[in-house]
Subunit: 478 residues, 2 copies
């Protein structure tokens, strides 16, 4: 634990670096992001082995996640080279574009030691925006974080950039996080993790004399609606698909399907039998760390002890107390509706099937759901026609609607939305994944009657950057 | 004062209307906005006379503001017809676009009875986004607000739209505002007014179980930097220009220039003499209402009583106690730096000239400024070259930088930014003026693997709306 003045010194360094970084051109910034990706790759097996020891995640998964991380960095480099992301608008002598907001604090995720941690999506998008970044290392994978932080430091040095555009804080205390978020020089916060953690940061930020934006991507139960006709026609294959999705990475994904909704029917019974068999066939692996394991134990036991909740699979063969027991439980629609606790996320390989007595109850259960990262609708064309109102309702509560698929697996692309109405994230107007994640860390600035030589290149008459601009109401590159 | 359940009923009606309005096509929404503009115009002189009685604003000004209001409504109608504002992005089977967030509460401004009130920018942008709106009428111009609300109701009826997409709450109590912001069905808040009012609403919103976004456009002192060379060359004309800007509408604009910064010099003395003469020549008019008049009296007296602050103009000839006395005061750079109270807005025809002893002190004073709606730099080419660091610093604190002009007068255009870092507004990433004001009330939704018939027109393969889309990384209308 440092003293408060130590955090303020960190932020003073961050502001000074920001003020110099803001004048660095886009090409150099792009080279810098690519250089981070290269330096991460140069860490080779050491990085994978270190992360595997710290998180219990298998090497194959970590290699995939490293690829996602370096791909994100290169994606933002491409965005900078192309240049149109600054949303330049010209109306004669009034001109605007996006500029970075200032130093950003990033709190990494326990479940993505690379892609949502030290050099993950928040850091990459903030550095691309032109912000300086202070990462508070996640205690669950400190050595991994230090390795990646060193790679970033090397990339800074390779590109002769100001040293403090990236800083790494190794301090586990709540006080450290609070001091960084509440420092007067901090301009924004990125967080991926639990609802309690995210809500605490939002509170710290709104309690400041001058509040700042926080983008917190928090929990979600990612409801899946299993419609009747598809259960009759595809129940068995859907059950197998979902057994994999529920236990993927031992359920430690924010898009893990935690609640399945269906109407009681013989087809649902076949689905459940297949799901339970497939779940019981999964060999569990250790969770990310002991605190997550312990939280899973107490959260699923609490859920199973609620009125009307019944565990469907037989977990007796799981004798290894070091690994979590994947669990499928069921509850009636009415018991679900009467108990708000069942809406809460159980982080891990757990899913609750809400068996509704009819269409009316299914609708009521669906309407009781809160903000979600994703909702999924499994249905044939007939189903989607009969239950068309569910589509509208799903758009109202979620950031992403999946049709006939699984919510796990978040593709990094322009069209992705990873975020959603509260409590899924703290601001549904932004996404944490994809190129648009950069929009969290920028704001528009308007120049009125500025001489050409004062204007940034993006706003100069001759469009030296050759970017897309909205000029006197016409979109083009002129 | 109603009971809490009355507000909840209002919000239940708002949600029901929203759920139906969301399915209305863009052309009908555009006709509706134009219909509001037409109905406002049909109110004719009655509206102008009613507003003039309630606000003391002269007819000419109100006629201009009415024109701005109807123009804004028609601007959003054009945006809807053109259609590209939904930011459609397609990456094969993953597609996203913007959708409305839900019922919005709008708190109108006392100083813009039309353009930032009942059918003003917040209401127009929220209705254009597809949100339902609840306006809490401003107590200072209730009859005006009722007339405009009736015009909106007529437009709803003309276009056969759900009655409750717009509701008008006539209740002055703080409790009413709090109940509306904290109702679980409310999705967002728009506010224009004082820092204390805006901060209170932000607090109500962040204290909710599920927080919602608030866009509060609050006070600003809109600093103006008067650089040495332009004072020598253009001091007299700048003084005349600024006397008009400071007293325009009796200083009751959020972009009123409240602080002028300069370095002591003979040219500054000439500027001050001219400014004081021009200010003393202004015939004051009554302020918007008594509470604003009283607040101006106490705020300017408090400011004048601070150490080192000296009133420059002779206000003895102002014997009419019903009108405010325009005031120019001055203070040294060092006294300004030592007194945070002098950073606060004095809403009315008041401006403080900070006379710095040298360039170093001017820089220190400039750096002490907080978030602003605007900053203005008055300077010749030579000035801008010598003081180039001021431009960067101004971009860091403001939403708009004006060069060699006045901050008053906010053009409604695509490139305008009306907002700024805290405390100027609650979220500098958005603007309250211009087409992009709509972005405050929308969020992205992503459809994954959706059948074509489920997709909104904006995301269908054949692009039936012929809008600009980013499709597999290529921007176009295909």
């Amino acid at each position: 634990m440092k003293e408060p003045q130590d955090y303020h010194l960190i932020m003073e360094q961050s502001v000074a670096a920001f003020e110099s970084y803001i004048n660095i051109n886009a090409t150099t910034k792009a080279l810098f992001l690519e250089s981070i990706a290269n330096e991460i790759e140069l860490l080779g097996d050491l990085l994978i082995e270190t992360a595997s020891v710290e998180t219990n995640l298998p090497a194959a998964r970590l290699i995939g996640e490293r690829g996602r991380t370096t791909m994100q960095l290169r994606m933002f480099a491409n965005m900078l080279r192309e240049g149109s992301w600054v949303d330049a608008v010209i109306d004669n002598d009034i001109r605007k574009m996006l500029i970075p907001i200032g130093p950003i604090i990033v709190f990494g995720a326990s479940n993505f030691p690379f892609a949502y941690s030290t050099a993950g999506g928040d850091t990459a998008s903030a550095l691309a925006a032109g912000c300086s970044v202070v990462v508070k290392a996640h205690p669950a994978h400190l050595q991994t974080s230090i390795l990646v932080a060193n790679a970033i430091a090397k990339a800074i040095s390779n590109n002769h950039l100001p040293k403090h555009i990236f800083q790494h804080v190794e301090d586990y205390s709540f006080e450290a996080g609070k001091a960084l978020v509440q420092d007067p020089l901090t301009a924004g916060v990125g967080f991926t993790g639990s609802a309690s953690g995210g809500n605490a940061l939002c509170k710290y930020a709104s309690d400041r004399k001058y509040p700042i934006p926080v983008f917190a991507e928090m929990g979600s139960v990612n409801p899946v609606v299993l419609l009747p006709d598809t259960l009759i026609n595809n129940g068995v294959s859907i059950a197998q698909q979902y057994a994999s999705s529920i236990t993927l990475g031992m359920g430690q994904f924010c898009t893990n399907p935690g609640i399945l909704l269906a109407i009681e029917s013989p087809a649902l019974q076949v689905f459940l039998t297949t799901l339970v068999e497939a779940i019981d066939a999964v060999t569990p692996a250790k969770m990310l760390h002991q605190a997550i394991h312990d939280a899973y134990q107490s959260k699923h036991q609490q859920a199973l002890s609620q009125k009307g909740v019944e565990q469907l699979n037989n977990s007796l063969q799981h004798t290894n107390t070091e690994t979590p027991i994947p669990i499928i439980a069921k509850v009636s629609g009415i018991d679900f509706l009467l108990n708000e606790l069942l809406l809460e996320e159980v982080f891990g390989p757990y899913s609750l099937v809400v068996c509704c007595k009819d269409e009316v109850e299914l609708k009521a259960v669906h309407q009781s759901l809160k903000g979600q990262l994703t909702t999924t609708i499994m249905g044939t064309d007939d189903d989607l026609s009969v239950f068309s109102s569910f589509i509208n309702e799903s758009t109202n509560i979620a950031g992403r609607i999946v049709f006939n698929g699984v919510p796990t697996g978040v593709e990094v692309c322009n069209a992705m939305v990873h975020g959603g109405p509260s409590p899924a994230s703290s601001d549904s107007r932004f996404t944490a994944v994809g190129v648009n994640a950069v929009k969290r860390w920028v704001r528009p600035i308007c120049y009125q009657n500025a001489p050409q030589y004062v204007l940034p290149d993006a706003l100069k008459n001759e469009n030296p950057l050759k970017i897309w601009r909205l000029k006197n109401n016409v979109f083009g590159k002129e």
